[in-house]
Amino acid sequence: MKKAFELFFSFFKIGAFTLGGGYAMLSMVEKAVVDQKKWIPNDEFWDMIAVVQSLPGVFAVNTALYVGHRVAGTKGAFAAMLGAIIPSITIILLLATVFREYRDQPVVERIFKGIRPCVVALILAPSLRMIKSAKVTWKTAIIPIATVFLIWWCKTSPAYVILAAIAGSLIYALIIRRKTRDAGVNPPDPLSRGSGPASRVPKSRSQKEEEAKP
């Protein structure tokens, strides 16, 4: 029970003070869970993050659930999850009441008229960066282009597009698995560092220091 409380407060602090989304949160979670409380060994933590990253849903919530579950079972999972989301819910509820009151004020309206085009840019920029990091070639460029066309032009529900994309890439992944098996090569272990999602995860401080050493 004590651990559940500690988990709640650790994730509450993280939820209340991290700006900039899920990945900014990771180093704070690592500091709390791995460095300070020593609940989970460093290696296991990053292996777990690699798996959690590929799951759907809110990344911060998934992380809280897995860390909580690993440290203190069901109680821990719920304590950590509530800790992670209660600050956001409280802040937004407070802001929503204030915002509805003042949004028709001409001053507020003027400020938001300037902010809206900026938000559009802030959404477009990471999507292009993602295309770059996914190493999209001229051949595979059809995938993002078709996605944009379907959702933006045809107004297809993104849900169907995601399901179709999952089906397509699952078939692709199964073909890769069969090929590697036929060739008699062991498939690369995605959990080992340097390949798979683990390499996309920002490295821990201690790892970075190790790499910096000659």
Partner: protein
């Protein structure tokens, strides 16, 4: 009825929300703005801006706000909980399945294939917000300050990785003086 709709919409978003907060924007936008019209496109843009400037996940913030505006305090809790529900179920069932090495390789490769589609999804969310509600002076024979803000913010964010909060504050200041 509204509670059931909120539950259904946000559980769906929780199940299909691959690829992080921005990737969920497209799903949320389609359901909340286009399909159910719980929010206008300007509301949506404002909430994304507010989510950027406040701590916490963007999707939880949007769920709370949508729930609150459509069904009050209870609605806000329900929508946020619905968004987390698939994750809670996954902790118990899916994790054991995917922690095995064999299945994990399959999952990693599937996700690699999914990435270009997710990028397209996010781009479409941005494109759908390019309208005259969000770009108020577009096509009115004026200086098109909104387009200038958008282009400058894009360059600053894409090429120079500028802090999004700083960009939002700056464009708010520009908006205050320009409009």
């Amino acid at each position: 009825m509204i509670y059931l709709q909120l539950l259904w919409v946000f559980v769906k978003i929780g199940v299909l929300g691959f690829g992080g907060g921005y990737a969920m924007l497209s799903l949320i936008q389609h359901e909340v703005v286009d399909h159910y019209a719980w929010m206008t496109t300007t509301d949506f843009a404002d909430m994304v801006a507010i989510s950027q400037m406040t701590p916490g996940p963007i999707s939880i913030n949007l769920a709370t706000y949508v729930g609150y505006t459509t069904a009050g305090f209870g609605g806000s809790l329900l929508a946020s909980f619905a968004l987390c529900l698939p994750s809670i179920i996954m902790v118990y069932f899916i994790l054991k399945l995917f922690m095995s090495k064999k299945n994990n390789a399959l999952m990693t490769n599937t996700l690699k294939g999914l990435k270009p589609a997710i990028a397209g999804l996010i781009f479409a969310a941005g494109l759908s917000m390019m309208n005259t509600q969000n770009f108020v002076d577009f096509g009115r024979g004026q200086y098109n300050i909104s387009v200038i803000i958008c282009v400058l913010a894009f360059v600053a964010s894409y090429f120079f990785k500028a802090n999004p909060i700083l960009l939002i504050v700056l464009s708010g200041v520009v908006g205050f003086f320009a409009y």
